[in-house]
């Protein structure tokens, strides 16, 4: 089959590799009908995620049809059409049983590596480094899906792939970010980053009853998309003091909750951005945390800072005093994707949201390496790239 493989910083290639097969009794194999490039794949592309190996198949947002099932698979049948959540979960451990799916104890063969860094392991992910299990990803024609009865959600006939594909990651991720804000009627939510996760966070905040959403970015097309969802756009590159602007917009109060949908590769023009960038370039730290610092600084006392953006290591100059002084609640973490599959599928079925609004590019597998460059440079108004792994390359 054909698959997109990581070969190093800024080096993705389409390779011919053997088809995946069943390795464990709870596995199934899926023939992928749609896949996507996630913003977090750009962290791989930019070389920020350790323990990638040359030749690793990437991609963690995919769906398809079941073509093979292992001996212990009870629910899924050959031919079922499924969306596969990006976290691999066993369904049996304490964490899965308590809905903390992304903390699953039993799916990461390299849990010991993560344990050394974070004290504990966590669920394995598709195509996202050996630290996170080393599983082959879904920017390919087929993928092996472990614990087939636990993660994948069956999609009824009559809904387009493109409407449900994002249940695999970014829709639940944006939704969890908003849900973590415990939104009350009349509240104002500020969202940093209007990429795919930010867009879903904005829409989810509205669905969950936020009165106002303030969307912060610097790309006009992304801000426009946020405005279409009813958000107020704030272009940070055009303001002197974002914190003051946010206060002015909220009657001096500050947002009730702040969502950092940016993560460790933040951009900005504040002093701490330049310090973080310099340190990052000489490998003194992994994160550029200026957005997280701003979110903490801007949030009203007693408010919530919710972090769907990815962070991986240590942060310098973290304003914990401000977080303490204001008594903030901080919520974060990998998405407990499986928790949201059914409720969000129902919202799609009811027509409350059509996630395909996000798609700007539809490509064949061969075009994916080029699309990484387009996406990372935000060229060609690129917001979301969807892949048809069986399409012939456009002439």
């Amino acid at each position: 089959m054909k698959a997109v493989c990581w070969f190093g910083k800024h080096d993705m290639r389409v390779e011919h590799v053997p088809d995946p097969r069943i390795l464990n009794p709870h596995d199934c194999v899926v023939r992928i009908t749609r896949s996507a490039i996630c913003g977090s794949d750009l962290h791989l592309f930019n070389g920020y995620i350790p323990t990638m190996e040359q030749g690793d198949i990437v991609g963690h947002e995919f769906m398809g049809n079941v073509v093979e099932v292992g001996s212990e698979v009870k629910e899924l049948r050959i031919g079922d059409r499924v969306v596969v959540p990006f976290t691999i979960c066993c369904g049996q451990c304490f964490f899965c049983k308590h809905g903390m799916w992304s903390a699953c104890d039993n799916t990461n063969p390299n849990a010991w590596m993560l344990e050394e860094q974070y004290g504990h392991g966590g669920a394995a992910l598709y195509g996202y480094s050996h630290l996170y299990g080393g599983y082959a990803g879904g920017q390919a024609q087929y993928a092996r899906v472990p614990f087939a009865d636990v993660g994948p959600i069956k999609i009824p006939e009559g809904i387009d792939d493109e409407k449900v594909l994002f249940l695999s990651d970014i829709f639940p991720t944006g939704y969890q970010a908003a849900e973590q804000c415990n939104i009350q009627p009349g509240q104002t939510i500020a969202v940093w980053g209007c990429g795919p996760v930010g867009q879903f966070a904005i829409r989810s905040a509205k669905l969950l009853g936020a009165e106002r959403v303030i969307a912060i970015d610097r790309f006009p097309d992304r801000l426009r998309l946020a405005e279409e969802a009813g958000a107020e756009a704030l272009d940070y590159s055009q303001t002197e003091n974002l914190i003051e602007d946010l206060k002015t917009l909220t009657g001096g109060m500050g947002p009730d909750a702040c969502i950092d949908a940016v993560g460790l590769e933040a951009h900005g023009h504040s002093a701490d951005y330049y310090i973080d960038s310099a340190k990052q370039k000489v490998h003194l730290q992994v994160e550029r945390a200026n957005v997280l610092r701003q979110a903490i600084q801007a949030c009203r006392p007693g408010g919530t800072v919710s972090v769907p953006g990815v962070y991986a290591g240590l942060i310098d100059k973290f304003p914990f005093g401000a977080a303490f002084g204001k008594g903030l609640t901080m919520r974060m973490g990998q998405t407990h994707t499986i928790r949201y599959l059914q409720p969000l599928l129902e919202r799609v079925q009811k027509g409350e949201i059509d996630p395909s609004f996000l798609i700007t590019h539809r490509v064949a597998l061969e075009e994916v390496p080029e699309m990484y460059k387009t996406f990372v440079g935000k060229e060609d108004h690129c917001i979301k790239v969807v892949i048809d792994p069986w399409a012939q390359q456009a002439a």
């Binding site: 290639r13 590799v17 040359q54 066993c90 039993n106 082959a136």
Partner: protein, 265 residues
């Protein structure tokens, strides 16, 4: 080497609470730990003397004791003691009976090639060692209480004499399942240094036990041990291919707990 001193008393003597207090603590009594004691104890003693006060004298005394303990340890090789625990989301009786059937052990302890139950309390163990060598020994159950604990020791003739206990305890209702604690002492082969002995059992015996418990948990909870061996990937570099040939796939980056002797990148 048939006579070794065990710092860990049997569970029956120490009572069932010992694992709770010591579960995550380990005492790696090789020279590294002793050196720490000598340096820290020495520094404490010097600082205490320099204070020239009653408190200083007490500090100096404590420091000297620590240093002396360290020196004694460094010169007299001792057994290695490790303890690890895990919570397995299955009832204690189920975990106990799976474990008690020793022939199940190689399913989650990959360094074991085979365990044969040879009598009511006796068993024969075959372990994999580096360079394709094998180690064999006989072991015997000392004490056991159904669904609660068992203790064992190796019989004279073992290259690495060992003794241990496994405790099975119902976890709190909130956590559910079974807390299992493995405590083990073993004596590295005489004259070869502790490190060699430790390496035969794993990079660090604590890591070995921790990974064994992890696989036991995976097997009993999820019904399988997760793997990526045999999955597709793009072309690997020559170096990765070479390392993989020795280490196995997916275990290239760091010293692997299972193949500590292999080449690593």
């Amino acid at each position: 080497m048939s006579e070794i001193k065990y710092p860990l008393d049997t569970l029956a003597e120490r009572g069932p609470s010992h694992g709770r207090n010591n579960g995550r603590q380990e005492q790696w009594r090789a020279t590294g730990g002793s050196l720490g004691s000598i340096v820290a104890g020495g520094a404490l003693a010097v600082y205490g003397v320099s204070r020239k006060s009653a408190g200083g004298t007490a500090l100096a005394a404590a420091g000297s004791l620590l240093a002396i303990r360290g020196i004694r340890k460094a010169v007299s090789p001792e057994t290695v003691h490790v303890e690890r625990s895990a919570t397995i989301n299955r009832p204690p009786n189920e975990v106990f009976s799976f474990f008690r059937n020793f022939e199940n052990l190689p399913k989650f302890m990959p360094h074991l090639k085979d365990v044969q139950v040879t009598g009511d309390r006796a068993s024969h163990w075959v372990a994999r060692a580096p360079l394709g060598l094998e180690l064999e020994w006989d072991a015997e159950i000392l004490e056991e209480e159904q669904n609660r604990f068992l203790t064992w020791h190796s019989l004279p003739g073992a290259v690495i004499p060992n003794r241990g206990s496994v405790e099975f305890r119902a976890a709190s209702q909130y956590h559910g399942g079974c807390e299992i604690t493995v405590a083990m002492d073993f004596a590295p082969p005489a004259g070869r240094g502790g490190a060699v002995g430790a390496r035969i059992f794993g990079r660090h015996p604590g890591v070995q036990i921790r990974e064994d418990l992890r696989r036991l948990k995976q097997l009993l909870e999820a019904g399988e041990i997760p793997t990526t061996e045999g999955q597709p990937h793009g072309r690997r570099t020559a170096f990765v291919r070479m390392v993989e040939a020795v280490n196995g796939p997916g275990r290239r980056r760091r010293i692997s707990p299972e193949r500590p002797w292999a080449i690593v990148s």
